[in-house]
């Protein structure tokens, strides 16, 4: 995807990231976040959570991956997310994006980001500033 091919209002192709326990375990080790609330359903429930939860910052990684899938080689300058509710490990999730602004001078686009949990509830909203190739 090149800057010249993008239009205001374009939707990014939706993705369905893998939020299985295996992937979360791999993530928390790489991210220095190896806490049982992310990797142990029973422990998380004992803390009042509905189950082990996907780390918020991992959702940022999923959203960035969606951007890279849409525009390989794109350079993310900024990614800002608000975490609204939890996503439970071993369920399903959906990432969505839409182009909301184009900066012709710098070949950058603003992208709205949302992530929905398995019940269709918005768990993450955010925006990204992304530089695209000419």
């Amino acid at each position: 995807m090149r800057f010249s091919e993008v239009e205001l209002g374009d939707d990014l192709p939706e993705t369905h990231p893998d939020i299985s326990m295996d992937k979360v375990r791999l993530f928390v080790k790489a991210a220095y976040m190896d806490f049982p609330r992310f990797t142990d359903h029973e422990f998380a429930k004992s803390e009042g959570l509905p189950g082990a939860i996907v780390p918020g910052v991992m959702s940022q990684g999923f959203l960035a991956a969606m951007i890279h899938q849409w525009a390989p080689g794109a350079k993310i300058h900024k990614l800002d997310t608000v975490f609204r509710t939890t996503m439970v490990v071993d369920t399903s999730a959906t990432c969505r994006g839409a182009v909301t602004d184009l900066d012709e001078d710098h070949h950058r686009v603003e992208v709205d980001l949302t992530m929905l949990n398995h019940e269709g509830v918005t768990s993450v909203i955010g925006t990204a500033t992304v530089e695209l190739a000419d």
Binding site: T100, D101, E110, D112, L113, V121, G126
Partner: protein
């Protein structure tokens, strides 16, 4: 005439939408909106001037506020200097009676938003503390509601005889217009909006 009565821009702590991006999105997507109202959290923005954007896009852009009370969040339309001195907009524990009374005294309209939402919605507090006087208008359609919340808002508003309006509660650009309010008469200013809300010459619409 259709206005989205509940939107947030980057001026709100959790808002990520630029006002000009809202405008170009509405036009690009051909949304059935004639304008929108910025209802920033716990503040009234008396400095931003959107007249150039209004002219450029042919949209009405008004400013209001979303304040926080002991009965949940409340939108206040028609904020003026007198009202901003009547209670502390930044506090999260305003007494709803103070907000409703001050709004009425200052010629403004105070209307609870997302009343069907846990903790920050009016009806959750009614369940625990009983109903209060002075409410006659609530947001029955909110674009950020989870399943069941708008249904509860609508049913409870009907039970208490409250009129309803709609707003998207958008915090990002692409969510503007999920809910809105249709007016019988043209709205050209915040005074027109306040009059129409007081007269009940409007109805909630949802576009989700």
């Amino acid at each position: 005439m259709i206005l989205d009565l509940h939107t947030h821009s980057v001026r709100s702590d959790d808002g990520r939408a630029k006002v000009d991006n809202y405008c170009q999105w509405i036009r690009k997507k051909e949304l059935p909106l004639d304008g929108f109202v910025l209802t920033e959290h716990r503040q009234y923005d008396d400095t931003s001037d959107y007249r150039d954007l209004e002219d450029q896009y042919g949209l009405l852009i008004l400013k209001a506020s979303e304040v926080e009370t002991d009965y949940g969040h409340v939108l206040v339309f028609g904020v003026n200097e007198d009202l901003t001195r009547s209670f502390n907009f930044t506090r999260v524990d305003n007494h709803i009676g103070d907000v409703l009374t001050a709004a009425r005294r200052c010629g403004a309209v105070a209307a609870p938003c997302h009343p069907g939402r846990p903790n920050v919605g009016l009806f959750a507090h009614y369940e625990r503390k009983g109903p209060i006087d002075g409410v006659d208008l609530v947001e029955i359609y909110n674009g950020g509601s989870r399943p069941g919340e708008d249904e509860m808002s609508e049913a409870e508003a009907d039970r208490f005889g409250y009129r309803g309006f709609g707003g998207s509660d958008s915090h990002i650009v692409s969510r503007i217009g999920y809910a809105a309010t249709e007016f019988d008469d043209p709205i050209r200013s915040i005074e027109d909006l306040v009059s129409a809300l007081q007269a009940g010459r409007c109805r909630a619409r949802t576009f989700r």
